[in-house]
């Protein structure tokens, strides 16, 4: 699951380096814009059946690769 999610992230950020910097702020570094973020949420829904609505979370809850992995795991186990 983690590997698949990281592949998705690398594709959307157009940068393989995200796989090595799991705590980097993806928005601050300019790797992810609001459109790529929207695409990520669609991809998460398609691949893992988990719906994350931007209106129910803070951006600071989901701004690094590690936080995204943690959130998807939580939702999958919920």
């Amino acid at each position: 699951m983690e590997e698949k999610l990281l592949d998705l992230l690398a594709e959307l950020c157009e940068e393989d380096e995200v796989k090595n910097n799991l705590d980097e702020d993806l928005f601050e570094s300019g790797l992810m814009d609001s459109l790529a973020f929207a695409e990520l949420l669609f991809a998460i829904e398609e691949n893992f059946g988990v719906i994350i609505a931007p209106s129910e979370i803070q951006r600071s809850d989901i701004n690094t690769a590690n936080k995204i992995i943690r959130l998807v795991k939580e939702r999958m186990n919920a």
Binding site: L31, L35, A36, F37, L41, F42, A53, P54, S55
Partner: protein, 514 residues
């Protein structure tokens, strides 16, 4: 033109006198809102127009700088009521680029609704002063002073390949011809319904002409989403729900961003009847998602460059079309517009053959501001139906099938990123202004057939020890010259830039390295 058609300035006056207390525009900035009524709009713009006309010596266009403040519309109308074109500049344009545009236009005054710290010709009249004028000025402009059918109504500056923006001049006639057709889009936006129109695009992006002028013509209300609301998803959905908008106008990219949350549906916006898209490729995927969330709304795809007044073709995308046609067509030309597909030797190509899209008709711009050289290359006169019309060579590639136009991409180095029109040469030339940069090339990256980001390859004469810090420094320097959306996402240093045998940059080879 249809003689029964009431022109835009007459129609605005009628709307204001019939329904003076209705809100004409609401800027939805979170808890606080700024709004203006139809009566205020007409009254304020009459007084401001008089004030300007009694003080200004020339008919030079006037620059209006700001964001989504309702006073922006007062300023636009005041300019045209006084017989002068307006030139809108949004706050996303950095000061140095604003100064470059000011230098090109050389306006007598600059009207501002947001702070602008500029060292340039022309006196700045700020919002406080404008408010004072519209309350203290007792005279009103006489209607005969307004721009005539052949006069320029607005000038919108767009990215130029040399690094200097080009000003597209649109006359009152062009705008009226556009509106006459645009009010028929979707189910038609008849005035008695007094629709709420969504405004997403900045006023310096000609997509905004669609929502602003449909609203002004039909006596509706414009619901404007300022930048902070667009950037905060929670605020955005709250604002969209509160708007209760009937007509959606945006780039497809903005709809994609909104679709990220299941809350974006007909439950949030129950009275939304039509999505009008323009500015970039509309994908089947976006349409499919919209159909699911808004089963009763129509989706209309349109096409047209700034040079032919916002849009000239339209198609209502049905489930049937969306299932069977990829990529989606961009539509059929409006009345008064002809689409020609032209081959390399200037010959008109038959149905089905690919070539350059040339637009002929009554909404084609009279040319770029003060740029004879470019005008000769891009514009000209031709005959259709026994009448002389202007034409514009778009630089877009495409083909016709049974009168339906299909878009195939650019023939030059212009790209559309999230709907914004960008000349790669504009970025490259601005990169070359930065100390130490000897060569620069910018190339687009694609996802789903659409440009998703830009990458720059640079050759520096200075040793680069800390690449990350250097990249950050270059991005900072570039932000002083270019709007945020033109800053490349990635910057890479190269030892050399590959070139073809005749010395031109080999963009394909560069793409492979980057």
């Amino acid at each position: 033109m249809d003689t029964r058609f009431v022109t835009i300035l007459e129609k605005i006056r009628q709307n204001a006198s019939e329904r003076p207390d209705r809100l004409m525009m609401i800027e939805s900035a979170g808890e606080t809102k700024q709004s203006i009524t139809w009566g205020q709009l007409d009254d304020y713009s009459d007084r401001l127009a008089y004030w300007m006309d009694s003080r200004l010596k020339t008919k030079t266009p006037i620059i209006v700088y700001g964001h989504k403040d309702p006073m922006m519309i007062v300023c636009f109308l005041a300019c045209v009521k006084s017989g002068r074109a307006y030139c809108p500049i949004d706050i996303n344009v950095p000061v140095s680029r604003t100064a470059a545009i000011v230098n090109e236009v050389k306006p007598e005054i600059i009207l501002t609704t947001e702070p602008l710290d500029i060292q340039a010709s022309g006196t700045t009249v700020d919002k406080e002063q404008i408010l004072q004028i519209v309350s203290a000025e007792t005279n009103r402009i006489s209607p005969e002073k307004a721009v005539k059918p052949d006069d320029v109504f607005y000038i919108i500056f767009t990215s130029g390949s040399t690094g200097v923006p080009k000003g597209v001049q649109i006359t009152r006639d062009c705008l009226d011809h556009f509106i006459q057709w645009a009010i028929t889009l979707g189910n038609g936006v008849a005035d008695e319904k007094a629709y709420v129109f969504l405004n997403q695009a900045p006023f310096s992006f000609d997509l905004s002409v669609m929502d602003l002028f449909l609203c002004l013509y039909t006596g509706g209300t414009l619901w404007a989403l300022p930048k902070p609301v667009q950037n905060d998803m929670k605020q955005l959905y709250r604002s969209l729900g509160e708007s209760d908008a009937n007509v959606w106008v945006s780039t497809p990219s903005f709809a994609d961003v909104c679709l990220a949350d299941p809350v974006f549906s007909s439950e949030l916006m129950p009275n939304l009847t039509v999505f009008l898209f323009c500015g970039e490729i509309l994908t089947n995927r976006t349409v499919e998602r919209l159909f699911k969330r808004f089963p009763n709304a129509k989706v209309v795809n349109t096409y047209g460059p700034t040079e032919s007044t916002c849009a000239v073709t339209e198609v209502t995308v049905t489930e049937e079309i969306n299932r069977s046609v990829t990529p989606l067509p961009v539509g059929r030309p409006k009345p008064g517009t002809w689409i020609r597909i032209v081959g390399e030797n200037g010959q008109i190509l038959p149905d089905g053959e690919h070539g350059e899209i040339v637009i002929v008709g009554d909404s084609v711009s009279v040319g770029y501001w003060n740029n004879e050289e470019k005008n000769k290359l891009a514009f000209g006169m031709t005959t259709e139906n026994g009448t002389q019309y202007r034409f514009y060579r778009t630089g877009d590639e495409g083909y016709l099938s049974d009168g339906m136009l299909y878009y195939g991409g650019r023939m030059d180095l212009q790209v559309k990123l999230h709907g914004y029109r960008i000349e790669l040469g504009d970025i490259e030339n601005n990169l070359l202004k930065i100390d130490g940069i000897e060569q620069a090339v910018v190339i687009p990256t694609y996802r789903d057939g659409k440009v998703s980001s830009l990458v720059a390859g640079l050759v520096s004469s200075l040793p680069v020890s800390d690449e990350k810090a250097e990249v950050a420094k270059i991005k900072e320097a570039l932000k002083k010259e270019l709007p945020e959306y033109m800053i490349p996402k990635k910057i890479r240093f190269l030892s050399d830039i590959p070139r073809t045998n005749n010395g031109k940059i080999d963009r394909k080879a560069v793409g492979e390295i980057l």
